[in-house]
Amino acid sequence: MAKIEINVRVNGVEHRAEVEPRLLLVHFLRESLRLTGTHIGCDTSHCGACTVVIDGRAVKSCTMFAAQVDGREILTVEGLERDGKLHPLQEGFFQEHGLQCGYCTPGMLMTGYAFLNGNTAPTEDEIRHAISGNLCRCTGYVNIVKAYQYAAARLREGGV
């Protein structure tokens, strides 16, 4: 199969790669770049474990081909911590017990990153709708909502 060249910036680092046209973005991130924080939980774009942020928008990376990200900027969970400082969402998940098995957590964090960039004063209802494309089997979502609220408060204070 003829390969396609892509140039993509991931967590601030430029990557040039030759990819098969059918290679899913999530496999490119996990297997080519070894960024295994982005997880796979389904085949139908329902679970959101693979969510990453592309040019500011939350995207399910199992639903895009690697070939589609040429020239774009991607943020994964590994890129949230800056200069040894956790993102307020990461702190929120830690402080509010927003995770248990941790498998959905990277997707929840990346959905939240894009969501809170546009809205630092969300209502509970807005948060619940924002994460409705991310499934969690452990937490019952209560503490994920609290983690988002924690992060929103920090962002309003100018935490980042």
């Binding site: 098969e20 059918r22 290679l23 496999h27 996990r30 297997e31 070894r34 960024l35 295994t36 924080g37 982005t38 997880h39 796979i40 939980g41 389904c42 085949d43 139908t44 329902h46 679970c47 474990a49 994964t76 969970v77 590994e78 949230l80 911590e81 956790l86 990461q90 998940f93 830690f94 402080q95 017990h97 995770l99 248990q100 098995c101 941790g102 498998y103 959905c104 957590t105 990277p106 964090l109 509970e124 948060i127 619940r128 709708h129 994460i131 409705s132 494309g133 991310n134 499934l135 969690c136 089997r137 452990c138 937490t139 019952g140 979502y141 209560v142 503490n143 994920i144 909502v145």
Partner: protein
């Protein structure tokens, strides 16, 4: 109040989790994250038919695909007698079929390739010639005399009946029914569901040909038992237990689904032995939902007898259990229906009798838990539905009926009509708190007002009793392995600790809570204690984590091991302080001379002395091991109250409020306990309203992906309200009981009871879960409410 300071972080402190720093950075180590040099990938060819003869498997095109290395079929495994394996219930299960397939999505062949995409190409290229056979989906039809016999592999098998099991005093029960003023009867189907942990199952199997050692990283809740099973199944081809290492890395949720040995694991092991290369096999979601073990699937016919005044007297249950094509349930050996006979619940019934018949059908095997202890959810669902039916039947408030029939606190330890000895309980206390917290009386007034306006609002109660912590070795084993669990604690010279266990966390936070228990017992800060689980080469043997057994069993082991260490530490302290042991007192973290608190030795000073200055005649070091065999099970309980509103136009049920009062005895980490309850409630909501796996007449799975197997999202899930009472277990060293599954066990009945409560005045007596909008809409239409 916690006995230790926040710095030590013993029991009762909401210590932040030690696991989280890696998970919030995307640095967990789940099985699909593992990459080994020369690793190859395995993918599985699955059957499109639910029952068919395999006439031929043509692998030529697959093998001609560039990158495909091998195709493994049942015949290849049969050459080593590895094509069948035993189930945990001593039935047999195919690894790969030779003659016929028994359910849709059954493994038919495995393709090995250089990468996962090529392996999938190879799967597409394998050509299998099937000859379809008659399919049996309905377990009742499976029992008819003219039903096709499914297990033709079993010589002389003349029907699809697996076993009959009954428990209780039949004549006393029949007599109680004869004497009853009131009887209610109800057929209740508790449908087939799937745990659907967000991480699917998989493994990396790596066989080292030179040393003859097999290492398998796998998604398992019970690594030690898996090692023994592998040795028993493959010992004859040279895989012996000292040469098998099972490593259970970070697990993305288990809930019972990661207890069984799936064919994929075994094929991957065989593939690694065959090729000499590490083999990775990771299920996709559709394989996970369509082929991995299911839960529930109980067709229950229940009868409850009572007096006019609301006194409940007897329970009679007959159940048909659909096991799929083999009995691969994960139950203790002696209990083919698990702990279903806890079904008298929280009530003081005089008599009860239970019968269960296991049946083969053309469906995937299973009968595992879905976040519960061996069929306790089926039991709780039945008694809580029946109690509610009785209350409605005689016109009594369901809360009053429960209060009237609860086992009173002074009756514990209480021997139930079905033979269980409940350790402790205060059921009325929990229900009263739930009633107060949710404002039950006002809600009943509101309901009457709304009903007068034609609105549909319901209030449902579930006052459940769980049975967890399996279990005492006298009655509990899996394949003969007694259900003890283990702890090994080793104190280093500087007072820091490594502790290893036979259990395995899948999100429960063992690294944190286990450290807290040791902190409680030894006064060493939880932060100084490293907890390891899941590596069979290093951890002591244990039966694993499921059925809420980690705290009741391994938690007790850890307390006992820590107390052994404290005994030795006391001797060292006496030596160092030049005092008699009897003259020493303990407070968390140090021994001191009675009356002279400044004459003290900290546990850290004692640890150093254990390696540098221990008494003559005493062995050096400070460590202990405990294999704990619990004297009894533990019986957590709670009362849940649910408020629902029903849309008359669509039949949609909305859970407006849900108050959960739980009692799990003494609590190790309140934050983690509350989190477990939130998650458990959501996995109670799920089967109550959304989840079910169904099959059409041809055996096609109708909910084989997340397109139609509906996990609740944050939008459907209510903002759970929680509270607690505390009734310690009298026999557990820490007074703890276990909590991970209570909410999943107790919640569904509260939701169904609320829905039926909203509709009772329209003539609705029962709706089977999941209570979907079409079911409610149909009930409303039948009652002349909806059009």
């Amino acid at each position: 109040m916690p006995k230790t300071s926040a710095e030590i972080g013993g029991m009762g402190h909401s210590v932040k989790r030690k696991e989280d720093p890696r998970f919030i950075r995307g640095k967990g180590n789940y099985v699909d994250d593992i990459v080994l040099p020369d690793m190859i990938y395995m993918d599985i060819v699955r059957s499109p038919f639910a029952h068919a003869t395999i006439k031929n498997i043509d692998t030529a095109k697959a093998l001609a695909t560039p990158g495909v290395l091998a195709v493994i079929t049942g015949k290849d495994l049969a050459a080593y007698n590895l094509h069948w394996m035993p189930t945990l219930m001593s039935d047999t299960q195919m690894v790969l079929p030779v003659e016929k397939v028994m359910y849709q999505a059954q493994e038919v062949a495995a393709v090995l390739a250089t990468d996962r995409y090529t392996a999938a190409d190879g799967v597409d290229a394998v050509e299998v010639d099937y000859d379809p056979l008659p399919v049996v989906v309905d377990p009742f039809k499976a029992l008819l005399p003219d039903a096709p016999i499914l297990r033709t592999d079993k010589e002389g098998k003349k029907d699809n009946h697996i076993w009959h099991w009954e428990w209780g005093d039949k004549s006393a029960t029949d007599q109680a029914f004869d004497e009853a003023d009131v009887k209610v009867t109800q057929d209740i189907y508790i449908p087939r569901i799937h745990v659907a942990s967000i991480e699917t199952c998989g493994c990396v199997a790596s066989f080292d040909k030179i040393n003859g050692k097999l290492t398998v990283w796998m998604t398992t809740q019970a690594p030690h038992a898996i090692r023994t099973v592998f040795a028993l199944v493959a010992g004859h081809v040279g895989l012996q237990e000292h040469k098998i290492q099972i490593i259970s890395p970070d697990i993305g949720g288990g809930f019972g689904g990661k207890v069984p040995v799936y064919p994929g694991y075994v094929i991957a092991v065989a593939a690694s032995v065959l090729t000499g290369k590490p083999v990775k096999w990771i299920e996709d979601r559709m394989e996970n939902l369509q082929a991995d073990s299911f839960a529930r699937d109980y067709h229950i016919a229940a009868e409850l007898a009572g007096k006019k005044d609301g006194t409940l007297t007897a329970l009679r249950i007959k159940t048909v259990a659909d096991h799929g094509y083999t009995d691969a349930a994960a139950n203790p050996s002696k209990f083919p229906a698990g702990l279903f006979h806890i079904c008298t619940g929280s009530y003081d019934l005089k008599a009860a009798h239970v019968e269960v018949d296991g049946v083969y059908t053309n469906k995937p095997p299973g009968g595992i838990a879905y976040r519960c202890s061996f069929r306790v959810t089926e039991a709780v669902h039945t008694i809580e539905r029946m109690a509610d039916l009785m209350a409605h039947e005689i016109g009594m408030d369901p809360a009053d009926l429960r209060m009237k029939n609860f086992i009173a606190p002074d009756r514990f330890p209480y021997k139930s009509a079905l033979g269980w000895e409940y350790d402790s309980g205060n059921y009325a206390g929990a229900l009263k708190l739930a009633i107060d917290r949710i404002g039950y009386t006002d809600l009943r007034k509101e309901q009457a007002e709304r009903r007068a306006r034609g609105e549909l609002m319901g209030i449902g109660i579930s006052s459940f009793t769980e049975i967890v912590g399996a279990g005492p070795s006298k009655h509990f084993d899996i394949l003969g392995l007694k259900m003890f669990d283990s702890a090994e604690i080793r104190i280093h010279p500087t007072g820091k600790v490594i502790a290893r266990f036979g259990t395995k966390s899948q999100g429960q936070g063992h690294e944190t809570t286990y450290a807290q228990i040791i902190a409680e017992e030894l006064g060493i800060p939880a932060a100084d204690i490293a907890v390891e689980e899941g590596d069979t080469d290093t951890a002591p043997y244990g039966l694993g984590t499921y059925a809420s057994r980690s705290t009741p069993v391994a938690g007790a082991a850890r307390a006992v091991a820590a107390r052994k260490i404290r005994e030795k530490a006391k001797k060292i302290a006496a030596y160092l302080l030049e005092a008699h042991e009897d003259d020493l007192d303990w407070e968390p973290g140090k021994f001191f001379v009675k009356g002279s608190p400044d004459r003290a030795k900290t546990i850290q000073e004692i640890a150093l002395a254990a390696y540098t200055n221990h008494p003559q005649g005493m062995e050096a070091g400070l460590e202990a091991v405990s294999y704990y065999d619990p004297p009894n099970l533990t019986y957590p309980f709670g009362s849940y109250i649910c408020v629902v509103d029903i849309d008359k136009g669509t039949g949609e049920v909305k859970v407006r409020r849900f108050m959960a009062v739980d009692d799990c005895g003494n609590i190790i980490n309140p934050m983690i306990v509350e989190g477990q309850i939130h998650g458990g409630l959501t996995m109670g909501l799920a089967p109550a309203l959304y989840e079910e796996i169904q099959y059409d007449e041809s055996g096609n799975c109708l909910q084989g992906s997340f397109m139609n197997y509906l996990l609740p999202t944050a939008v459907e899930t209510p903002a759970w309200e929680t509270d607690k009472t505390c009734t310690p277990s009298p026999h557990h060293p820490l007074g703890a009981k276990g909590v991970g599954e209570s909410a999943t066990v107790g919640a569904p009945a509260a939701i169904v009871n609320a829905v039926v409560d909203a509709l009772w005045h329209l003539g609705v007596r029962h709706i089977d879960i999941p209570i979907t909008p079409p079911k409610v809409w149909k009930a409303l239409r039948d009652a002349g409410v909806s059009e």
